[in-house]
Each structure stands twice: as C-alpha cells, then as structure tokens.
C-alpha cells in the first residue's frame, strides 16, 4: 500500500517535470490586455496597429478589446482596478488625464521605460503632445496615441452664395469671422454664419491656448492640485458677449453640447463651424458642398496671439494591478515603443487622420508631396506647432474636467437664454468649477 502510493507520487512528479519542460519548449507568448474606445474605421486602424506588433515578434501578444465609449472605458477600467483585474493598457480621453495621473493606479511611462530598459526618447513627440501628458519636469506619464485638435470648417459654397470669394477670404481673426458670418446670413448664403461643437473645448480650452491666456491658475493645473479657474477674464467675457450679440443678430446659432454642433456644418445650415479635426471622415462622407479647413481665429491685438492650439483625443496608460510580472511590463513597454516608431506613427496618421504626434512624419510627407491634395491632414499640425508654446498653451490638468466642461456649458446656455449676463455666467462658472476642483483635491490626499 505504502509502496504503491510512493510510486504514484513519483509518477506524478515525473509527469510535472515533463510538462514543465514541454511548456518551456513551446513558450506561450505573454498576453497583454489592451482596452480601447474607438469605433468604426478608427477601431479597424487600431486593430491593424496591434496586428502589426503581434506579427513583428513572438514573445508578446497584445489582445485588444473594445470596452465602450471613452467615459464607459474609463469607468470599466476603474471598476476593473478596484476588483484587482485592471488591463495592462487602457486608452483614456484627454480630460481623464488628471484623474489617471493622480490615481496611483498607473505606472508612469517614464518609469516603465526606465525599469524595463526599453530605449525610448520622449523628445521625439511634439511639445504640445508631450507637454499634455507629462509632469512639469518633463517626465512622461502616458503614451500619446490618437491626438486631434480644434479647427474651423468652412462651407465655401455658402460663402460664395453670399458674394464672398472663398479663395481669397481672410478668416484669421474673430473680427473677420464675425463680419463674414453676418454677411453670410444677411445675403442668404446660409441660415447661420457660425457655430461650434464641444462648446467648452473649442470656446474655452482651445480659445485660451490660442490667445495665450490662462484657463486656470498654476499653468492650467499642470503645477498642482490647487488650481483655480480663470475663464472670467476680460477677454473671455468679451468673447461670450460677442456670441450673445451674434446670436441676437442671427450670425451665430448655438448647436448644443457634445458633438451636436457638427451636424450644423455637414447639413449646410452653418457656414462656419469650429470642431474637431477628426470630423473629417464625416464631412467627407456627408457634406454636399465644397469646404475648406481653417485655423482657429484670434482677436486682433491680443499679445502673443495666435499661438498653438492644444490637443484632444486620447493616450494610452499602463495600469498597475497586484501580480504584474516584469515580463508583462516588458511587453507593454515594447508595444508602446513600437507604436511610436516613425513608420507606425505615420501609418496611423495617414489611416486615421489623427495628428502626426511625433517629429519626422510631417517633414517626410511634406517632401513627398503627400499633403498637396490633403490640406486637412496638414493644417491641424501646423496650427498645433504655431509659435512657441507657453504654460497657457501646453495643456490642461484639471481634476473632474468633464464636470467642469458641463458647468461652463450650463452657464453659457443661461447667458444665451438671456437669464444672466456674460460676466455673471463666467463668474458663476468659475465659482462652481472651483468647488469641483477642491473636491477633487480633497479626494487625492
């Protein structure tokens, strides 16, 4: 009896050894989970990047999963982290940057590359891209991936119908934009002169960067959690007052929150709409008129304007969770480094229409004449690299930014409705946003 059991045990031990050796022989690639939030063609291009990485080596395998829209993906990643099962990599929209950065749930990419020894130079990225995702000392916290910026889409047919030559029209300043908008409406070129999508993003975040005025103190929050909003400056109030006045005269139509304003452009209702550069796919498919893309305008006489705009879009975060192995971190680092190579980043730029986020792509494509018939891929880049970036145009790091966006939108809507003045709207927005910022600061202790 005793002998049998010993024999059985040694048999088991042998089996284990055999299996162990066998598994070394057929080394399984280490699996890296990647949660993304893009849909449609953009999802296909994302998967193509993953596929390219998986085919380029056999040590790691990135498994990409679609986890819903940006905010759904964020909530999913948070829930997974709380359950101790966070993915290795998660794609997070730009407004979630502060939340992720201060969360303690991530491994900053500069640490990731140091620890794994994978060579990486953060200075390959454009300053406006790098700054958005780095600490003030230049330490990069997340990996830039899909970046867009705000631009002005112009319906050339509507301008022409109002007797304005779209080929020679100058729309560099707001003064010119107001004039053209009014003329388009008066002359019947379109029902509305100008509108915008993503109200807070285009009219406050981008507007502040382009005019080199602060959105919030402490370099828009980059230097600490104690930042306070500053969107009630003289220039901000003047701009809101102009919008209120233009609404009264019919030159401006408010399109609503989120991307609702986009529809006003593609339907032909508004001659000019400020929105994301990533709107191209929809404009290309739906707009039944000639259009051009213009840079965001500025108010004449503003010192240092026009400056670079800032980015939107998303970056990739390496999430920490108990039990991560060195092998897994290695895979994450190599995947990130792979995406940032000139060839992959160029392919991504051309396929998806997002900005070329690193140096070396624009120059190369310019030389090849690639942009000659695709100015919509070139203009956002040129606007993003316009002038020398200042603390006002290097990015935004405010906790609960989605809530702050909603607060500003609520208050300006009440100003459009005539329930309060421009000054009151922005004073209240500042006051309410600061409460949100203090709550975020408190929860980070």
């Amino acid at each position: 009896m005793h002998a049998t059991s010993r024999l059985f045990r040694s048999f088991l031990a042998t089996l284990l050894v055999v299996f162990a050796i066998g598994s070394i022989g057929h080394a399984q690639p280490t699996e890296i989970q990647f949660w993304y939030a893009l849909t449609g063609p953009l999802a296909e291009h994302t998967l193509a990047q993953v596929e390219d990485f998986n085919n380029s080596q056999d040590q790691f395998r990135v498994v990409a999963d679609f986890t819903g829209s940006y905010d759904e993906t964020m909530v999913a990643a948070i829930a997974a982290f709380r359950a101790g099962a966070a993915p290795h990599i998660v794609q997070m929209f730009e407004v979630g940057t502060a939340t992720m950065m201060y969360s303690g749930a991530i491994k900053p990419v500069h640490e990731l590359f140091e620890e794994t020894g994978v060579p990486f130079d953060p200075d390959i990225f454009l300053p406006a891209v790098k700054g958005y995702y780095s600490l003030p000392d230049g330490s990069m916290m997340s990996m830039p991936f899909n970046s867009s910026t705000a631009v002005m889409w112009v319906n050339d047919d509507a301008l022409a119908a109002a007797g304005i030559d779209p080929a020679t029209v100058s729309l560099g300043t707001w003064e010119e934009v107001w004039e053209v908008a009014q003329q388009v409406v008066d002359e019947g070129g379109a029902d509305c002169g100008i509108s915008f999508a993503w109200p807070t993003w285009t009219q406050y975040e981008q507007f502040s960067a382009v005019h080199d005025v602060p959105l919030a103190s402490l370099s828009n929050g980059m230097e600490g959690l104690g930042a306070e909003m500053m969107v009630n400056s003289e220039l901000h109030v003047e701009h809101l007052q102009n919008l209120v006045d233009a609404r009264a005269s019919g030159a401006f139509v408010y399109g609503g929150r989120g991307n609702a304003g986009d529809g006003l452009f593609v339907s032909g209702e508004c001659a000019m709409v400020q929105g994301s550069s990533a709107l191209f796919a929809r404009v290309d498919r739906e707009a039944e008129f000639d259009w051009t893309m213009h840079m965001l305008p500025y108010y004449e006489g503003t010192p240092n304007a026009p400056l670079n705009s800032i980015i939107g879009g998303a970056s990739l975060w390496a999430m920490d969770t108990p039990g991560r192995t060195a092998e897994e971190w290695q895979g994450v680092a190599e995947f990130f480094a792979f995406l940032a190579t000139v060839d992959q980043a160029q392919k991504w730029h051309i396929d998806s229409g997002y900005l070329p986020i690193r140096f070396g792509i624009y120059e190369r494509l310019m030389e090849e004449g690639f942009y000659d018939d695709k100015p919509h891929l070139r203009i956002p880049y040129e606007q993003l690299t316009r002038g020398e970036a200042t603390p006002n145009s290097s990015g935004i790091r405010l906790g609960n930014l989605p809530q702050i966006r909603a607060i500003i939108e609520e208050e300006i809507e009440l100003a459009f409705e005539g329930q309060q003045t421009a000054q009151q709207a922005l004073d209240t927005a500042v006051e309410r946003s600061n409460v949100v910022l203090r709550a975020f600061e408190r929860a980070q202790r």
Binding site: D71, S103, A105, R257, S267, N400, E410, A439, Q444, R445
Partner: protein
C-alpha cells in the same frame, strides 16, 4: 368536499422561493446596501484613498442650491409625465373598448411605442422636433414661433416630458383596457336604463370601478418617471440647456459616472431611494383607502 393540496415538505416553499430571493438579494439588497455604505465615505474613484465621513456627503448634497433646483425640476417633470401618460391612455382605452370592427388592429398599433427603447424614442422625436432638421421644428419656426429647445429651457423640459409620456401611454393603455373589459356590462346597462348621460356613466359608474387599475398605474408611472426616463433626457438634452432638464436621476448619473464622485452620488441615490419608498408608502396608506376593489 374541500380540494386543497397540502405540501408536507417544510423546505419546498423555501427552495421554490430561493431563485427569486437570490435575484432580489444580488441585484437589489446588496447594491442598495453598498450605496448606503458608500454614501458615508469620501473616496477617490480608484478606491485607494478612503475617509469615513458619516453624513458629510448628505450635508454637501442638501446644502447645494442646485440640488434643490433638481428637486423642483423632478417634481414638475414627474407630475407632468404621470398625468400626460395616464390621461390620454384612459381616453384611448375607453374609445378602443367601444370599437368592434378592427379592434385588435387599433390595439396593436397603440401598444407599439412601448416596444421602443427610451433612447430610440428620444432620437425619433429629436429628429421630428429638431429646430433645423425636424419637420415639426421647422414648421414651428416657419409659423414665427422661436422654437429652439437647445437654448430655451421651458421648451426643452416640455419636449422631454412629451417624449417620456408618449412612451408610457401604451403601457397604461393596456392596463386601462384590461380594467375596462373586466367591468360588468350590467352596471353600464343599468345606468343607461336609469337615464344617465355617457359622461355621468363614465365618471360615476366606470371610473370608480377602474380605481384599482388607476392606483396601480399611478404608482408604476411615478416610479417610471424617476428611474426609466434617463435615456430620453440623455439623448435629447443631456440635462440642459442650463439645468432645465436636470432631474435628480440625471444629476446622480452625472455626479457618479462623469464626475466620479462616488460618495456624493451614493448619497443622492440613497435620498432618491428613500423618496420613492416614502412616496409609495404614502400612496398605499392614503390613496389606496379610496380605492374600491
């Protein structure tokens, strides 16, 4: 002779109840308990920092004038939706009850909207009422009415009330119709013989007999306005313009999901849960007394 089946097994009832109880515990009591617990904490979304603050979240929520504004919006919204969902349903049910030819056709068509998801219903009406691309929206503007729910708070509230009520009419219609059909014809005939006019027959004879159905629908509709109208508001106005359509439920979503303020939104859901429980208890205690079964 009494025909009663008696189960001698003492455990069988519990076994049979277990699946339902398990679902109730897993999907109601446990999350509700979690919400109560979380409402006493201030924590970061990732759960790495946690501070037990007793009732501070409630104090923050209740001292916020914007919360009281949301209470006001919710009261207007719920009252209007409940009334507008029930009154037309009753009217349609009374008329459908009298139709003889093609009755099932009418009924099917009236019931259809109930099969549409709230978000889809919202988008449907959005396309009809949109100021620039919707037929009715354009029509109103052509008549000189400054229709633009993206800016005008009252119009926005009116629109989400209309869409939410429209969705619920079918459900109420079904119950009212079933209620009407269970009223004995003899009562109506007796009233007719006594010379009562159709209005008198309805308000003095039929309506009181419908009261159990009406009461049931009142409770269900109020709960509907609190918990099932999120999709409509989210798709059409996202709580705006300003805060004109921010109900308690929408505010809670925004604070919890977008703002990631778990403590504050849990406190709001505890308050909302208490309000609905209280409302239901009040209805059963005071209104039900006047219901004739």
């Amino acid at each position: 002779m009494q025909r009663r089946t008696i189960f001698r097994n003492k455990f069988l009832p519990y076994v049979l109840l277990a699946p339902q109880l398990a679902i109730t515990i897993a999907f109601f009591f446990w999350p509700a308990g979690q919400a109560v617990y979380q409402s006493l904490l201030i924590e970061d979304p990732f759960g790495l920092y946690r501070e037990f603050v007793w009732f501070e979240n409630f104090q923050i929520v209740l001292s916020n004038p914007l919360y009281l504004e949301a209470v006001r919006v919710t009261v207007i919204f719920s009252t209007a939706v409940t009334f507008l969902a029930m009154a037309p349903a009753l009217l349609l049910a009374v008329m459908a009850d009298q139709v003889i030819r093609g009755a099932s056709g009418y009924r099917t068509m009236i019931v259809w909207p109930y099969a549409i998801a709230p978000a889809v219903a919202a988008v449907l009406w959005l396309f009809i009422f949109h100021p620039s691309i919707g037929q009715i929206g354009q029509g109103l503007r052509a008549l000189g009415i400054p229709w633009d729910y993206r800016i005008d708070g009252d119009q926005a509230l009116g629109l989400v009330i209309f869409v939410s009520a429209w969705k619920q009419v079918s459900y109420n219609f079904l119950f009212f119709l079933a209620g009407l059909q269970s009223i004995p014809k003899t009562i109506v005939e007796a009233a007719t013989v006594d010379g009562a006019s159709p209005m008198v027959r309805f308000w003095r004879g039929i309506f009181p007999l419908l009261s159990p159905t009406t009461f049931f629908l009142l409770v269900v509709n109020i709960i509907y306005t609190f918990f099932d109208t999120f999709g409509v508001i989210h798709a059409i106005t996202q709580g705006g313009p300003g805060r004109a359509t921010t109900t308690l439920m929408y505010r809670l979503y925004r604070d919890g999901w977008i703002n990631l303020d778990l403590g504050g939104s849990s406190a709001q859901s505890v308050l909302l849960m208490s309000a609905v429980i209280l409302l239901t208890v009040v209805q059963f205690r005071f209104i039900e007394r006047r219901v004739h079964y």
